[in-house]
């Protein structure tokens, strides 16, 4: 039991004036009341000065303790908030669209009979993608690496949808070393495939673009699908797992320093535009 006793500063603070008072009383007994500040016997017989002194003592001790305790609680709250924020980023980063997973597994299951080698390739790509996703919680990667994982993802979709799905890349080489949150692009591309490509007959084209502009790195994902209506546009960033996750994750990481915009022309296509600050140090953000 003694092992559990910890030095509690609030108790010490509380006990200190009590100890001092006891010491003073003892000295008063020993050396006589005239040498020390003592309550005059006349006053002592009355109740109110005694009560007043007691009250003042309690207030003098309690007020600093209260202030100190509040500061401590605030500090702890702040720490917990930080933890919560980190946990939220983690949770957001490690979500994969279950629909995509299901569809891919169905494809694999079918390929195992008809084309076992291709099935194997898809499994390797899928596990690669999952591995990146597991690592993504504490990782910021360069755009180059992010594009590699997008390739892995697109390879799977290409096997599922066949040559009808065409992918164009217009990546400016000077953006390749930009630091981006890991697995931030995949949901954007998935969204473009889902809304742009798979709704129209005769295939479609996804264009990935990146360039630098005004100290920001701009990444665009464009499709040539049927476009979105105003209603769909307004809810796209808040509903559903994919885009809203990306949006929330970005806002936790960058605060107000990023932009995620959707624009659409009915019949021509949709563009998702992501603007993030160029080259941020990874340490600052993982905290």
């Amino acid at each position: 039991m003694l092992r559990n006793v910890k030095v509690d500063w609030s108790v010490i603070l509380l006990l200190a004036p009590v100890a001092l008072e006891l010491l003073r009383q003892a000295l008063g007994w020993r050396f006589g009341e005239d040498r020390l500040f003592f309550l005059h016997p006349d006053l002592r017989s009355m109740l109110w000065p005694t009560l007043l002194i007691l009250l003042t003592t309690v207030l003098c001790v309690a007020t600093p303790i209260k202030i100190w305790n509040n500061a401590r609680i605030e500090h702890r709250l702040e720490e917990q908030e930080k933890l919560l924020l980190t946990a939220r980023v983690d949770a957001l980063a490690s979500q994969i669209n279950p629909h995509f997973l299901f569809n891919t597994l169905t494809s694999i299951s079918s390929l195992i009979r008809s084309k076992p080698e291709t099935a194997r390739t898809v499994i390797v790509k899928l596990s690669g993608l999952l591995r990146r996703l597991l690592r993504s919680r504490d990782h910021f990667v360069t755009l180059r690496e992010e594009l590699e994982s997008i390739d892995e993802y697109l390879d799977i979709e290409l096997i599922r949808f066949g040559p009808q799905l065409k992918v164009d890349k217009q990546i400016s080489p000077d953006t390749l070393d930009t630091i981006v949150p890991s697995m931030i692009l995949q949901p954007l591309v998935e969204n473009s495939i889902k809304h742009g490509f798979s709704r129209q007959v005769g295939g479609g084209r996804i264009t990935l673009r990146s360039f630098r502009q005004n100290g920001h790195a701009v990444i665009e994902v464009e499709d040539d699908g049927s476009g979105m209506t105003e209603d769909q546009l307004s809810t796209a960033l808040t509903d559903g797992i994919g885009l809203s996750n990306v949006n929330e994750r970005l806002s936790v990481i960058y605060g107000a320093a990023y932009q995620l915009k959707l624009s659409s022309m009915p019949g021509i296509g949709t563009v998702i535009r992501l603007e993030i600050p160029e080259l941020m140090s990874a340490e600052r953000i993982t905290a």
């Binding site: 299951s109 079918s110 949808f161 066949g162 798979s198 709704r199 129209q200």
Partner: protein
């Protein structure tokens, strides 16, 4: 033996169609008589073969599963 149920499969993903086809064949009670890649393709086929049951994907190009 159970009588066969005549079915049409509609899905834009060929691999998903093949997988469903295989699973239905394993059942032994469903016979897949035709397949289509989207809603628009499916309508004339369904009119022609008049199946007893249609397996419709929801999200498809052209015409989706909801019509």
């Amino acid at each position: 033996m159970n009588p066969s149920l005549r079915a049409v499969l509609v899905d834009d993903e060929q691999l998903a169609r093949e997988e469903l086809h295989y699973m239905l064949n394993q059942l032994g009670t469903v016979e897949v008589i035709a397949q289509a890649g989207n809603g628009l393709e499916a309508i004339p086929i369904i009119e022609r073969v008049s199946p007893e049951v249609v397996f419709l994907d929801v999200q498809m190009p052209g015409l989706n599963g909801f019509g």
